[in-house]
């Protein structure tokens, strides 16, 4: 479906697209043309979104409280007790601001705040202290930037639904309880998702769902190990 009115700017965009398409010499199905027009997010459009995010938990490893064993009393270190730590899955809030560089590519920055719980399981005490799980809650902030590629050709719902993939990097800041200790790190992420816009006007609301994987180092986890964290988010978006 081609909409009947095309603005001058939209016509320019159409022309650009045709040149690119022609240069690529790829035959395109007529259905793809539904995104060629003023209603598709295009260069200069700004998208604001905000919503909830889920972060997966991950293992922080094990450690034993050991003492130096005297000779003749056994082998290996004397284990006073064992610990096993993990970060539990958590939910948080996320806000993003994006700018479309082209119809297919946008860049965005975001802030995520979550409150994951860190727990350490304490077992095997040498003097029979009862097993126990010690906990604390972090305030985790991630400030990140991403590049999104929108598959305009794979849209559906009359052009309202547009899948995308994204990749980026971020700065990680973990504040321990009472915010007395701040630890920082970094992360890289990739993911994919879907925009579904309500309406086709210049200003419109929509919803956004995305998921992905974050690889992170640092923060409350001092190990050199890179942790793999699954993420999922749902947001309300506004385009203008």
């Amino acid at each position: 479906m081609i909409r009947p009115t095309i603005t001058t700017r939209a016509a320019r965009l159409l022309g650009t697209f045709c040149i690119v398409a022609g240069a690529a010499a790829v035959p395109r199905p007529a259905a793809a043309q539904v995104y060629i027009g003023r209603d598709i997010p295009h260069r200069g459009n700004i998208e604001i979104s905000g919503g909830a995010v889920w972060l997966g938990g991950y293992d922080l490893g094990s450690a034993a409280a050991e003492e130096t064993r005297n000779t003749g009393t056994g082998t290996g270190p004397f284990v006073l007790f064992d610990t096993s730590s993990k970060t539990d899955p958590s939910v948080g809030l996320q806000g993003r601001l994006g700018v479309y560089a082209t119809k297919s590519v946008s860049v965005e920055g975001g802030v995520l705040v979550a409150w994951p719980s860190v727990s350490t399981r304490l077992t095997g005490d040498a003097e029979s202290a009862s097993d126990l799980t010690a906990t604390e809650t972090l305030t985790r902030v991630i400030v990140d930037g991403s590049v999104l590629f929108h598959f305009t050709g794979a849209s559906f719902g009359g052009g309202r639904g547009v899948p995308f993939i994204l990749g980026g990097a971020g700065y990680l800041r973990d504040a321990h309880e009472k915010n007395e200790v701040i630890e920082t790190g970094h992360e890289f992420h990739i993911g994919g998702g879907l925009h579904y816009w309500f309406g086709q006007g210049k200003h419109r609301f929509g919803i956004r769902a995305d998921g992905g994987i974050s690889w992170r180092q640092g923060g409350a986890d001092s190990a050199e190990t890179t942790r793999t964290v699954p993420m999922a988010a749902g947001s309300i978006a506004y385009l203008f």
Binding site: A63, A64, A65, E66, E67, T68, R69, N70, T71, G72, T73, G74, P77, F78, L80, F81, T83, S85, V118, T120, L122, D125, A126, E127, S128, A129, S130, L132, T133, A134, T135, E136, H176, E177, K178, E180, V181, E183, A220, S222, A223
Partner: protein, 332 residues
């Protein structure tokens, strides 16, 4: 200057008093109504070595071993301490002459004492004026780099005694078992644990986190103030403070153990010199050594409670402290 001398005759020594609100068990003395930490105010500590050896160890080897032990303490980056070997002397290690002397002494009457440290203290300030260390020649000694079977490692014991000389009391960071003839160490994670490792081993030559926290607490420098933190709180049982409970802070990241005691009737404790980050707290009764190795015998130390963990991870801030921890223990 009014001076008071005291000779301490356990394996190492019994504290005059334990200092309240300290991060570590330190030696203290009463100055008027106050208890103050024993410490050297004049550095470097100038010491002599008695020019007398024992079987297998010459006085020169003794001097080199003692110097090495001093160097080990002085290498602690969070403490500002120094010492100076003045020379050999014919005088034995004895209190009251105003001179710090370290040497061998034959004390067959002290059948379980490898060495001891005694002090002369300025009772108006708590400043250490003199400290003497003797190593008991009733025991066989070794200065071998690898240790000698059946011989006690002089460097390990010197490291312990010099810890006392600097003002540290005993650490409870160790486990023991009762056997015929006394307690035997199963394991220890502090040079300042009151009972030595078995003869033949050199395991006691290395300072542990607990020792390092302790020496930094007495002779703190800017690195200590800037880079370490503390945990404070109370140990209670049925709502009442517990005196003499041993509280251990375990750094999950570095796996270092640092201990402290509840040192007042309300059960207050402070563990200082901790590296920043999350710690696990565990409290236990003082049951791995004679109470008198740690506290004045007149104190009512409570050992009737079970070992247990604290249910929160306690995060130590850099250069600051986390307070308000309450460890509630239950009777055995």
């Amino acid at each position: 200057m009014k001076r008071r001398a005291a000779v301490l005759i356990t394996l190492s020594l019994v504290a005059f008093y334990t200092v309240p609100a300290g991060a570590y068990l330190k030696l203290g003395t009463k100055v008027g109504a106050r208890t103050v930490t024993l410490a050297w105010t004049q550095l470097p500590i100038r010491y002599f070595i008695t020019d007398r050896g024992t079987t297998g160890v010459t006085s020169t080897q003794l001097q080199q071993t003692v110097q090495s032990a001093f160097s080990t303490w002085q290498a602690v980056s969070t403490a500002q301490i120094s010492s100076q070997f003045v020379g050999l002397t014919l005088t034995g290690p004895s209190s009251g002459d105003g001179v710090t002397v370290i040497g061998f002494q034959n004390r067959p009457d002290l059948e379980r004492t490898l060495g001891a440290t005694s002090f002369m203290v300025d009772s108006t300030t708590g400043a250490i004026v003199e400290a003497d260390i003797f190593f008991n020649t009733a025991f066989p000694w070794s200065v071998s780099a690898q240790g000698d079977t059946g011989l006690f490692d002089l460097q390990s014991i010197a490291l312990h005694e010099i810890g006392h000389l600097f003002g540290l009391a005993h650490s409870a960071m160790g486990e023991t078992e009762l056997r015929a003839g006394g307690r035997r160490v199963i394991a220890a994670e502090a040079v300042m644990f009151p009972i030595a490792f078995s003869a033949g081993t050199i395991l006691g030559r290395t300072l542990k986190a607990d020792d390092i926290a302790g020496i930094g607490d007495i002779y703190s420098n800017s690195t200590y103030s800037r880079n370490t933190g503390s945990i404070s709180g109370k140990v209670t049982k049925s709502g009442q403070g517990v005196l003499g409970a041993h509280v251990i802070a375990f750094d999950v990241r570095t796996q270092k153990l640092v201990g402290g005691f509840s040192l007042s009737d309300d059960g207050s404790f402070v563990i200082a010199g901790l590296e920043p980050g999350p710690h696990i707290l565990r409290v236990e009764p003082l049951d791995d050594g004679d109470i008198e190795s740690f506290f004045d015998a007149t104190l009512n130390i409570d050992v009737n409670f079970r070992a247990q963990f604290y249910d929160k991870i306690v995060v130590v801030p850099k250069g600051g402290g986390t307070s308000g921890v309450e460890l509630k223990v239950v009777a055995k």
